[in-house]
Symmetry: C2
Subunit: 437 residues, 2 copies
Amino acid sequence: IDHHDEKAVLALLDDLHPADIAEIYGELDLDEAKYIYFLLDDDTAADVLTELPEDDKLRFLESLPSEVIAKRFIDKMDSDDAADVLGQLDSSTQQEVLSHIEDIEVAGDIADLLTYDEHTAGGIMAKELIKVRDSWNMNTCIRSMRQQAEEVDEVYYVYVVDSRDVLKGTLSLKRLLLSPEDIQIRDILNEDVISVRVDTSTDEVSNIMDKYGLVALPVVDGVGRLVGRITIDDVVDVMREEAEKDYQLASGITEDVEISDSVWIHTRARIPWLLIGLLGGVLGSRVIGGFIGILGEHPHLALFMPLIGAMGGNVGIQSSAIVVQSLASGSMGLDTNWGKLVKELTIAFLNATVLSLIMFGYNYIVDAGWPLSLTVSAAMFSVVVFASMFGTFVPLLLKRINIDPAVATGPFVTTLNDIIGMFIYLTFGALFYALLL
Amino acid sequence: IDHHDEKAVLALLDDLHPADIAEIYGELDLDEAKYIYFLLDDDTAADVLTELPEDDKLRFLESLPSEVIAKRFIDKMDSDDAADVLGQLDSSTQQEVLSHIEDIEVAGDIADLLTYDEHTAGGIMAKELIKVRDSWNMNTCIRSMRQQAEEVDEVYYVYVVDSRDVLKGTLSLKRLLLSPEDIQIRDILNEDVISVRVDTSTDEVSNIMDKYGLVALPVVDGVGRLVGRITIDDVVDVMREEAEKDYQLASGITEDVEISDSVWIHTRARIPWLLIGLLGGVLGSRVIGGFIGILGEHPHLALFMPLIGAMGGNVGIQSSAIVVQSLASGSMGLDTNWGKLVKELTIAFLNATVLSLIMFGYNYIVDAGWPLSLTVSAAMFSVVVFASMFGTFVPLLLKRINIDPAVATGPFVTTLNDIIGMFIYLTFGALFYALLL
């Protein structure tokens, strides 16, 4: 690249898939990347742009005049990808780019797509699809499909509409292969078509495609007219974002953030959980304050306070993760709530026994004395059992009162377990020291 | 159902999709479920069985004789679903069921699939696919496809093989629609076909399909012969399992568990992290032990020990979650490592300032005295900044030495932050009490 050796670079790139080129691009600086771009043919360049990570895409587009964006990129893309790319630019640039697109219909489609919220079916659908009239026969249909197919990348289903564009059904490609040429479309279409409205949320779209095992889903407007289709690759992106959000929620991050987001967004996403933790810690300090006398007399009690607190938090998070996940996926298994409780209790008793025996052994070896040894082991046992019950019930309860358990369980469970753990530990401490000394 | 009113039940079920029937089934007991099953026609019954959660499926199959399983279910399923179902039974039952399948070729396909590890391409592929010879012309090809299409549910691509069954390329349905009838397949096939080997891991399969935006992927054996194909719905399942595993790892669960797994599996999955936490707590108690003198003199220091510990843990987990996720998705953004560090430091300073000011305000209001107030706020500030640095570097370091950061970061970061947090807090405590009293 440094020597601007066009032939060598092109020879290298020629065999690569656009996704691979996009990966290489990530390692280049802006000028090198631009240089490569203009060597590529238009279709490949557009595909590479689609594959780039969001922020690289934006940086790259901002460095180009809008006419180039329109002619070299937007015009060669599917309408949903084009709308995604344009959606990242500010609205005056959007207008400018759209005005440079020659085919007014294409520009109109993209402008349409830009109006939908990105978290709805409208926001992820594409306009390119193959549709036929229910009144046609197979011959007319095949002729029309050949024509339409030139504009569509992948064909999964053929959609059947009536004269007002209302979705009537689908025609699978298998059906097309197997049917005679003179049959009426009306007689072979599959009427059991599952569709979504433009304002259906992407979460629901992904659930529907997943549940019914679909690769493409037609999108209709308020009166049932076919306006677009969603393909599974768009939904896979939605699913990945969902999974990332869940992972971040489990780690105490309340907004879906990327490593490249601004400092301000990161701070805003992290502070809520920290504030809840702070509140919990302050409440905890009031609990401990109630035992300040015994702590003054027996400061060794403080040795295991962090351990008991951390253990309650860990156990609670483990139990709630399982429940939150089952609630989210809808697979609660065949056990009744009662059965789940018994099972969770058994697991908790096993873990609690192991952990408190280990602690008893440790305290025996370091010669911590009976009161402290008994306090630690008894508190450990109670805290583990209690925290796991608590971790199981909080998400079920939140679900019952219609709060998303994934959002609220983490902070709730950890914080409350921390406080209650301290109370249990110090109560046992007061008890055993009073009894045994 | 209770009145065995066949007609009414069937009328109800008739309009439902198999996935919906599977959901209803989850709310019935075994006898009711069996009753409904035998009312359904074979194809629907097989589809419903595929949609059931794993453990329900198993319970249901175990209650049926193997001849019924073979004739009513396995025979009506796609080979990959059939292999999944059979894979859950023990091997003698597998043999018995297979012996009841009439079409020896179908039985052979399923037996083949059963031999692959479920975490490889072979384990999730299906045998049903449409293939044509590269030496045929379009007419022969269409005729053969019509015949083959009857056995395949969905057609995405037509695979082209040579006389030895070696994969040569694909023929998109779009190509088929657009090409004249007398052309040779050899001249229109797309040779740039991406395929995987039977022993490719499912993770890699899912990465490849995702990266290149594929809906179906051919699977070849060691010498390049076409043996099956993977469709995107199988991969979506793999992706969901991956995401669940990551979520569980973030919650301290080391094996991929379902709520319906046995008590023993649950205990085994949870205890490792608890033991690490225990070790951390014990080490923490040694650290606190070093300050036992000052704790005896000033027991109020103990009030905020759990708060400081929890805060270090929370901040560390937040920082590491972002890094772990970026490492996993490969999108580390355009910042250099140095840039990331500066950014993370800025976020940490902001959070640390807010949190320590709040604590200072609180301690001022409750009149905690200068030494304690200063200790808590200074320790809070240092712990938040330190924990977020630590949370950023541990995953990067683990990645460098080839340990999966997702597995090891959680326990590592929380435990070490807990210990170091205690040390910082008590050191500040010793300092401020010595200076100010």
